[in-house]
């Protein structure tokens, strides 16, 4: 029997696979296609204090081996989430993490504080890295001083909830912001969010997305994400004992194992859910096969074992 369970700051996940925020709504969209209870955990779409309608259309465009999105944090808002979605998430039976976004530090604190009162929620994921709205948090996520400030403020209201900080790759050196998050009290790091990017309609000579830029996700970003996880693991997270939830283009078991070897404890699947919702369970089974083939009995035996 292979033990696939992992521990994210005291929250046990039956396996490392979780949904990447924003790709799985609030869990009801995939009901017929994927038994979410088979996953290790569930990360919701971003919640802000007030509802947001999001950006104009077009919001997504496919690129080679990836896609750009600029949804603009469209969401139902905190109160509707607490009233309508939290009861359903409670029935999921797997740890639920709520992604939190905002404009000002007070917004984050207010939402995180309210979520700390909910039994349905085990942790929050601090979105300080959305590239798609001017005030979507990325101004916090790309400056180490700001990272420290916002993580400290939210840390103070996370008494029960685990605090996961989602890092932006749109920085010169991701270990700097990672270190700031850890020093400010992050329980775990999730990495990476999307890369700010652009696609152009060459006939009209205009950006395709209404927002002009979007976040690049999918297989195209995986090698960069793996590298960033490796750097943060070896230079910050390992010594601090802070687990990493790795993500960026995971589509097959092979991809997931790369992240594990690079130092990720959790694994989030995002863009691939759009294509093959059930494929995430294939990734889980593929990891077990790999462990069996290499004579391991627990997934923990391979995390961060990259030979360099």
């Amino acid at each position: 029997m292979i033990d696939l369970s992992v521990d994210i700051a005291g929250v046990r996940l039956a396996n490392p696979l979780v949904t990447a925020s924003g790709t799985c709504g609030y869990a009801d969209e995939y009901a017929d296609l994927l038994d979410l209870r088979q996953l290790g955990g569930f990360f919701t779409k971003s919640i802000t204090q007030k509802p947001r309608q999001g950006n104009e259309y077009p919001r997504i465009v496919e690129t080679r081996a990836g896609m750009l999105n600029a949804i603009g944090l469209a969401n139902i808002g905190l109160e509707a989430f607490v009233r309508d979605k939290a009861p359903l998430l409670r029935q999921l039976g797997i740890p639920v993490f709520v992604n939190v976004a905002g404009v000002q530090i007070e917004d984050y604190v207010a939402v995180a504080g309210r979520l700390d009162e909910l039994d349905a929620v085990r942790g929050i994921e601090l979105n300080i890295s959305c590239p798609n709205v001017k005030e979507g948090g990325i101004q916090f996520g790309t400056d180490a001083t700001q990272v420290h400030k916002i993580v400290s403020a939210v840390r103070a209201v996370c008494r029960k909830n685990v605090l996961v900080v989602k890092l932006s790759p749109n920085v010169t050196d991701i270990t700097v912001t990672a270190r700031a998050a850890v020093e400010a009290g992050a329980d775990a790091l999730s990495m990476i969010n999307t890369f700010t990017a652009m696609a152009i309609d060459i006939e009209s000579r205009r950006p395709i997305l209404a927002n002009r830029t979007g976040g690049l996700s999918g297989p195209a970003i995986r090698p960069i994400a793996v590298y960033m996880v490796h750097r943060v693991y070896t230079q910050v997270a390992k010594a601090a004992g802070v687990p990493i939830i790795g993500m960026g283009g995971i589509q097959f078991a092979h991809d997931a194992i790369e992240f594990l070897l690079a130092g990720a404890t959790g694994l989030a699947v995002g863009t691939a859910l759009f294509i093959d919702p059930g494929g995430v369970l294939g990734i889980r089974d593929g990891i077990a096969d790999y462990l069996r083939r290499h004579g391991h009995t627990s997934i923990k035996e391979i995390i961060g074992t990259l030979q360099t």
């Binding site: 969209e29 779409k45 077009p58 297989p219 092979h254 759009f274 593929g286």
Partner: protein, 317 residues
């Protein structure tokens, strides 16, 4: 009858029965499945335009320490689209031991080109059925209006309306006669005056006379399909209380049809097209503005989940 699946939607592996060019730029793909949930005209499927089997199964090869990854790594497989391609159903037939689905699509890029290359017997991975289809209105006469790749879903709709006892008249517009995914000249020839005739095999088989329009005037009525619709409504003795209009096509066409039906009080449903990733309501990519009573007067709905078919009065253009 095949045992019906209990889920309202799912991922199914279909087998290709036939795949043929329907005109210069459309392909007609006939798929066979052991089972498929109930469908409505106007609903769509999201098709994975690539190999059905996961390209990389860890059990399929050995990772030899120190060796480079095998050449069938997903990144090295050449240009396959990442996302699925949403395409409306053009027809469905329930058989004793399975279901046949017809999909007629315009070849516009790598995904649809892959579909066009499928051969009989090959598998296709389809996710569906998705979205909310047309909701037939209680009017005895139905005009089904399709422009370009919006024509195929009208075949499925015409069949359902005819089966429900409605008299159906079809309007099909294309850039030129060569781009029209219909078989011309079954019984009659298309009318240049924009009069319905039994001129297409596909609609005639569903009991519907058709008005063909082309932008370049190479076939049928020279002009826009919306102009032909307008002319027919004005010239024929159609009592407007009897007519309902259903349409799918490019945005300008839909806007023109809306501009015709809304002021006249003709019930009208439009099937919209948007780029989308998941087709399930999760990615939130395929928004359209619909009227509501908020201060700003509109809100976003999702074409994949709330649509693709909307009532003409809902849509903010």
């Amino acid at each position: 009858m095949a045992v019906p699946t209990t889920k309202s939607k799912g991922i199914f592996t279909a087998g290709v029965l036939a795949n043929r060019p329907a005109c210069a730029d459309h392909f007609a793909l006939l798929l066979r499945l052991a089972e498929f949930p109930p469908t409505q005209p106007g609903q769509f499927v999201n098709i994975r335009c690539g190999r059905v089997e996961p390209i990389l199964k860890p059990t399929e090869f050995e990772w030899r320490p120190g060796s480079l990854p095998p050449p069938h790594q997903p990144e090295t497989v050449g240009r396959q689209p990442l996302l699925r391609r949403p395409i409306s159903l053009a027809g469905r037939r329930d058989l004793d031991d399975g279901v046949e689905l017809e999909i007629i699509h315009r070849v516009v890029g790598v995904g649809t080109a892959w579909l066009a290359g499928l051969k009989a017997g090959e598998p296709v991975d389809i996710l569906g059925p998705l979205g909310q289809g047309f909701r037939p209105v209680d009017r005895p006469l139905a005009a089904v209006v399709g422009g370009g790749s919006g024509i195929p879903p009208m075949l499925y709709l015409a069949e359902a309306l005819a089966a429900a006892g409605k008299k159906v008249v079809a309007f099909a517009g294309a850039r030129s006669g060569a781009s029209l995914p219909l078989t011309i000249g079954a019984h009659d020839l298309p009318s240049q005056a924009g009069w319905p005739t039994l001129c297409t095999a596909e609609f005639a088989a569903r009991g519907a006379a058709t008005v063909i329009t082309t932008d370049d005037g190479s076939l049928g009525f020279p002009g826009l399909v919306s102009q032909a619709l307008q002319g027919w409504i004005e010239r024929s003795s159609v009592a407007q209380g009897e007519l309902a209009v259903y349409a799918c096509g490019p945005n300008p066409m839909m806007q023109a049809v809306a501009g015709l039906c809304l002021p006249a009080g003709i019930p009208c449903q439009l099937s919209l097209e948007r780029h989308m990733a998941c087709g399930l309501g999760a990615c939130q990519g395929c928004v359209c503005k619909v009227k509501d009573d908020s201060p700003q007067g509109w809100k976003y709905k999702l074409v994949c989940k709330d649509g693709p078919v909307f009532d003409v009065g809902e849509i903010c253009w």
